[in-house]
């Protein structure tokens, strides 16, 4: 009953949002596109990182791969096929990276994922300048702003639906065990590596698609634009702010923060990164479990799982 009601509300909101382009001006539509993009990115980020505790800064690597695929292929292939190819490339890169690195813990993974974004950017730049002889590409696609918005909205809905669905499958259950205690998880026969890789890949494909769908908005694309590390940072902070381990957390975090950043970058372009940093510190100190977690702590009854005293987790952080 509760689930059905939740679906009904979500569906109503989705329909209302789908009709939004008919009522708003081009500026607001631009905002909505950016907002939906970040809601999707933050939700996709949390799908993997929020549930496994692996802080990933590779968001922009996949986002950029998506955008670049569209830039390179949009003139030679029909658009839906381009999206498919982008998703496939995202899948391959994620599988490679996942197989190689998901054994790393803590800070190693953070640095690795950040380096991955830099690496991809440098490789693309190098390829474009020395092999292709140009830097930057133009994208001419007959897509209006509302088309991009609808695609993103559908992707956002799909991401949330997937997250919800995964929570109730065996995969979701396995994740819960892994998050609580990896040793126990491996003893009851959960394939830890594959569970992580599956989730990482899924989250990466969604990020790739966000980049691919948003690409036509820019018209002109170059590595410095689509591989800007700020995208990774913003995604991370939005998901954390909302609460990365909850279904609606990242979305709820992305909405206020996106608007805030939009306002900050317009009003204080010079002091933007100082304010961003301060906000980061405040969130880490005051809201370690995000807004959703904070509200749960304050107002709600505790879920049965939280009542059970959790044993202190011992992970080999130094490995």
């Amino acid at each position: 009953m509760k689930t059905a009601l939740g679906f009904l509300v979500a569906l109503t909101v989705l329909t209302a949002l789908a009709f939004a382009p008919l009522f708003v001006g081009p500026y607001q539509l631009g905002l909505l596109i950016g907002l939906t993009g970040y809601v999707t990115l933050a939700s996709a980020w949390a799908l993997f990182s929020g549930r496994t505790g692996y802080v990933s800064l590779a968001t922009v690597a996949f986002f950029g791969i998506g955008a670049y695929t569209v830039a390179v292929l949009s003139e030679t292939m029909p658009y839906p096929l381009v999206l498919l190819v982008a998703a496939a490339i995202g899948l391959c890169v994620a599988l490679l990276v996942g197989l190689a690195t998901l054994r790393l813990a803590g800070v190693y993974f953070v640095i690795f994922s950040f380096g991955l974004a830099e690496l991809v950017r440098q490789l693309v730049t190098w390829f474009e300048t020395s092999v292709n002889g140009t830097l930057g590409r133009y994208i001419f696609l007959p897509l209006e702003a509302e088309h991009i918005y609808w695609q993103l909205l559908a992707l956002a809905a799909l991401t949330l639906l997937l997250t919800w669905w995964i929570q109730r499958t065996r995969l979701g259950l396995a994740l819960k065990v892994i998050a609580d205690d990896e040793t126990v998880a491996s003893h009851i026969g959960i394939n830890i590596a594959w569970t992580k890789i599956a989730l990482f890949t899924l989250s990466a494909i969604i990020m790739t698609l966000v980049g691919a769908i948003q690409a036509p908005r820019w018209t002109y694309v170059e590595p410095a634009i689509v591989f800007s590390p700020t995208v990774s940072f913003l995604t991370l902070i939005m998901a954390l702010f909302g609460g990365a381990s909850r279904l609606w957390g990242p979305a709820l975090g992305a909405i206020p923060l996106f608007l805030l950043f939009e306002w900050l970058s317009a009003s204080f372009p010079n002091h933007y990164s100082i304010l961003l940093g301060l906000l980061f510190i405040i969130i880490v100190f005051l809201l370690p479990r995000g807004v959703v977690g904070f509200i749960e702590d304050k107002f709600q009854r505790k879920s049965p799982a939280d009542l059970v005293e959790k044993p202190a987790r011992v992970k080999e952080a130094d490995q």
Binding site: G53, V55, A100, T101, R103, L104, A105, G106, V107, Y108, V110, I111, F112, F114, G115, E118, L119, Q122, L123, T125, W126, T129, S130, P229, F233, L240, N270, H271, Y272, S273, I274, L275, L276, G277, L278, L279, F280, I281, I282, V284, F285, P288, A312, R313, V314, K315, E316, A317, D318, Q319
Partner: protein, 290 residues
Amino acid sequence: MLMTTLIAGLVLGGSYALLAMGLTIQYGIARTMNLAYGETIIASAFAAYLLYNNLGISPILGLVIIAPAGFVFGWLVYGILMRPLVARSENTATLEINSILATFGLLFVIQGVMLVIFGGNYISYNYLNFGVEIIGVRVAANRLLALGLALTIGGGLYLLLTRTRWGTTLRAVAVNPAAAPLVGIDANRAARFAFALGGALASSGGVVVSMYQTFTASSGVIFTMKALIVVIMGGVGNLAGALFAGLILGLSETFVAAYISPGLTIAAVYIIFLVILLCRPAGLFGKVQK
């Protein structure tokens, strides 16, 4: 060509080793990952530039001012930002994640302040910019000085940590923070001291690097990444490992830039990093735990 590249690589590698030593102390002893490490480096580079260009103070003299300032800065950051997180975190894994996130914020704040003051331009200054003949190759004097300084500071630190009682205390905390109090060591104080010492090393490294390299307000992140790669390659907390790994990194970067393409240096660094991580996750000299 070969000798020139070799010496340039050694100079770069020496600086990397020095930078990585500070980080390996912070991470190995204080158990906190400081992502704003590179920003300390760049801030010190800017300080050296200001002192030299505006007041005519040579970078060597500037080092005497800037390194203690880095120490104080590290001391304050640990006390204000890290200490509450250490108290709050229930184990090393959470502490790591928390310190990463908090220093992330710090990274943006410092970088933002530098962008406001200095803008986004590349900056360098002319100090000892003349060639010196050494084993048949002409090398800029400032590079030689940088290498000398890096080796002196790094070597001094090594002796300090291995030969004094006080260094032994720090190493004891690095080996086992839980057991250190049993033999009368104040682990908390040691951690704070180690963090501050790391700050002083980052500052010295920044001054050394600024003598021969151009830098911008936003290049700190790259330095953090390289320092971390060196730390991981050398094994966390291992000073000799950091020296060795730093030289490898500096040499391979210079050789790739000279013989393949300057656009592929990060790719080269990264491939080395990946191979090390996959084959020897505990570092080149680390013992395999399990």
